[in-house]
Amino acid sequence: MTTTRTSARTRTVTPPPVPPAPPSARDRGTRLLATLFLAPTIVGIVVFTVVPIAGSVVLSLFHWNVIDDPSFAGAANYRETLSDSTVLVSFRNTLVFMVLAVALQLLIALVLALAVNGRMPVWLRSVFRSAFFFPLVLSAASISVVMKYLFNQDFGVVNWLLGLIGIAPVPWLTSENSAMAAVILVYVWQQFGFSFLLFVGGLNNIPKEIHEAASLDGATGLRKHLNVTLPLLSPTLLVASVVGIINALQVFEQPYVLTNGGPGDSTRTVVMVIYESAFEQLRFGEASAVGVLLFVLIMAVTALQFRLSRRFVHYQ
């Protein structure tokens, strides 16, 4: 840096920028190598994600019933979709489902992760980890079929157990008041294992010294968790909540098998509406329009989460 004396102040004179050196053969080789390694993933993303998304956007601008040639519809599918009470109810249901299911899932996973991470023999910890993760590797559809039997009002095990303690049979799947709760319970039971594993990993990454320091400062159990564990676990919480919300907004199998969206529309979700519009009513354009709206919703919610994470997530 050169300084020259001008009047009473010093002024910095910036030298002209040096043009970057042309990439060497070695750099070019490195880039080619990187591209080669990335190529399969890039091709996969383009073929299986980007192209279908673009296809859906295009299809949402057409009327198409599989049988006849597509006809241009412009924004008509979006207009029809946004004025369709079933679609609007499905969006409301999906958002309610997302809030309740994700909150419950994260809460259960966090409590169990803290419990398992406590003083417990290693072998028992492994047993719990496997047990909690196990439902996640099963097919959601088959779990839902079994749960449909369990929640049956007249012959289900759940009501039989409630009957043992004098509680009258609950119409779990056939009442608008309880159907959503049943669907959420089944979904959370299957999904919380993923968040649980994330939290266990996150808890293991928190240095013991910090907890020890907090103990020396007089922090006890709950305060230690609130003031030390949770802030340090916030990056994991962010990941778990982002993944959880994206999954919850796309819920399909559980409500489809358990209640088929009923009674009425009380458990009909957006993805169910997409499936029904496309494959049952042959309205592929409208189904694509709903799909595009769901895509936008998921993007918006995820973007909002990352925006809020700046304020709430603490990195060590």
Binding site: F37, I67, D154, T174, E176, N260, G262, G264, Q281
Partner: protein, 469 residues
């Protein structure tokens, strides 16, 4: 001195080249699998027939393929058994195949899809039926005209029915005995039915449900609508069809026949429809039946066979189903649906529909005829997994092992009640069914919700029927 060690960078580079080459080689080697070109019979000029998987196991497929090969060695045949839980699921998968450009030549279609296929995808069989009238005379003589009429659309015939199922009432004999009730008479009424449910409830524990039904188009609320002399949509008959009735059916049997059914104006707010819903709501209120669940009744076999359900509507397909579940012939029986204002019952039938996109229509017609032959159906329907469309196949011998005692009920539902008709299935059937299921659930989910639910059903049905498929 030269360094014999390979640098990490070089190793990575050659590794990447090797992986890329391996990926390309692997892709090339498995290209046939990736594109489905290795599927036997695909794009090799075979006649492709899509059937409902669960109804057509490997043995049935072999039977069809080998039998057809003996009769027509010059026609290559490929049976594509599509796995689906019910007709609407099957239908969705067929449409997906059509959308993917791999449409079959023939599709096994039930009443739910007859008019949609006829209107948008199917080929009328009239020219072939007229041409081969002599050969088909024996078939029509053996098949009830109601079944044939249900396969007609606007005066033309689109399918030859090979099976059907009418919604009759299945009764658990063990539960009847426990209630001290006798087997109901053929002309039993709705009130007799209600009394029987009360007797069953009194004699059984709290974990027992006298009447169980599934919320769906076939066997749900619709049979009750028929019994009360009404329907979800106004039902009329299309003109035409004389070419068929005059050729194949005697005057007595062709009386009142037309060119197929027309289901048009929704009438969900009709007094008689509301009466039906009120009646079902009263059964629920009295704990005589459960609130209806959506689905296909899969969980019904278990609860019926173990005596936790007394009565349920089902078709001839249950004779095989209950036998498989371990029920003996004497453990259950079947009776007509109870009389209300009428004793009209409902059925669903199925047969092969020929797609317009098929380039093998003559060969396809030969298969349709082969599939409707008595010897073919005898081999296919050995296990009573359905009711054969051919009257001559329903014999005491057929039902000796599986039951029920009153096996004649299955075909007599058509013979003794000639006004028995198909479930209402216009081309907009998918949306109509969805609306029906949705609002039936709401109507019966809480007390005093029948009226509002039916008004919403009416509005949604009107929208559905206005929509062009």
């Amino acid at each position: 001195m030269t360094d014999s060690h390979v640098s990490r960078r070089r190793l990575l580079r050659y590794g990447a080249y090797g992986a890329g080459a391996a990926a390309l080689t692997g892709t090339a080697a498995s290209w046939d699998r990736l594109t489905g070109a290795d599927i036997p019979g695909r794009d090799d000029g075979s006649l492709v027939v899509a059937t409902l998987g669960p109804a057509y196991g490997p043995e049935a497929i072999r039977t069809l393929t080998e039998g057809f090969g003996e009769v027509h060695p010059d026609i290559k045949l490929r049976i594509n058994a599509v796995q689906a839980v019910d007709w609407s699921d099957f239908f969705a998968k067929i449409l997906t195949q059509i959308a993917a450009g791999t449409a079959p030549d023939l599709v096994y279609v039930a009443t739910e899809g007859v008019q949609l296929f006829a209107q948008r995808l199917g080929v009328a069989l009239d020219q072939w039926v007229k041409r081969d009238a002599a050969e088909l005379r024996e078939y029509f003589a053996d098949v009830h005209p109601s079944l044939v009429e249900s396969m007609m659309y606007e005066g033309s015939l689109y399918q030859l029915p090979v099976e059907f199922n009418a919604a009759d009432m299945y009764l658990n004999n063990q539960v009847l005995k426990r209630a001290g009730a006798s087997f109901p008479a053929a002309d039993w009424t709705r009130d007799d039915f209600t009394s029987l449910l009360r007797d069953m409830k009194k004699s059984s524990g709290s974990r027992f449900t006298p009447y169980f039904w599934t919320n769906r188009l076939w066997g749900g609320v619709v049979p009750w609508l028929f019994a009360n002399g009404t329907n979800l949509l106004t039902e009329t008959k299309a003109p035409g069809g004389a070419w068929l009735w005059d050729s194949f059916y005697p005057a007595a049997e062709r009386q009142g026949r037309g060119g197929g059914f027309r289901w048009t104006t929704p009438q969900a707010t009709h007094d008689r429809v509301e009466e039906v819903y009120d009646y079902l709501a009263s059964l629920i209120h009295e704990d005589l039946c459960t609130r209806p669940e959506g689905g296909n009744g899969q969980n019904l076999v278990g609860v019926f066979s173990t005596g936790r359900v007394g009565v349920t509507p089902a078709g001839g397909f249950w004779a095989g189903g209950l036998h498989l579940a371990g029920m003996q012939a004497a453990d259950y029986d079947v009776q007509y649906f109870p009389r209300w204002r009428t004793q009209r019952m409902q059925f669903g039938a199925a047969g092969y529909a020929l797609l317009r996109t098929s380039k093998r229509q003559e060969e396809a017609w030969e298969f349709i005829k082969y599939a409707a032959r008595r010897d073919t159906l005898m081999r296919l329907f050995k296990t009573n997994q359905t009711t054969p469309a051919r009257r001559s196949m329903l014999t005491a011998d057929r039902y000796r092992e599986t039951g029920p005692n009153h096996w004649q009920t299955f075909y007599d539902t058509l013979d003794k009640f000639p006004d028995t008709g198909p479930i209402p299935a216009p081309p907009q059937v998918a949306e109509v069914e969805q609306v029906l299921l949705k609002h039936t659930g709401t109507a019966l989910a809480a007390r005093r919700s029948v009226g509002p639910a039916l008004r919403r059903m009416q509005g949604d049905l009107e929208k559905a029927m206005e929509r062009d498929v």
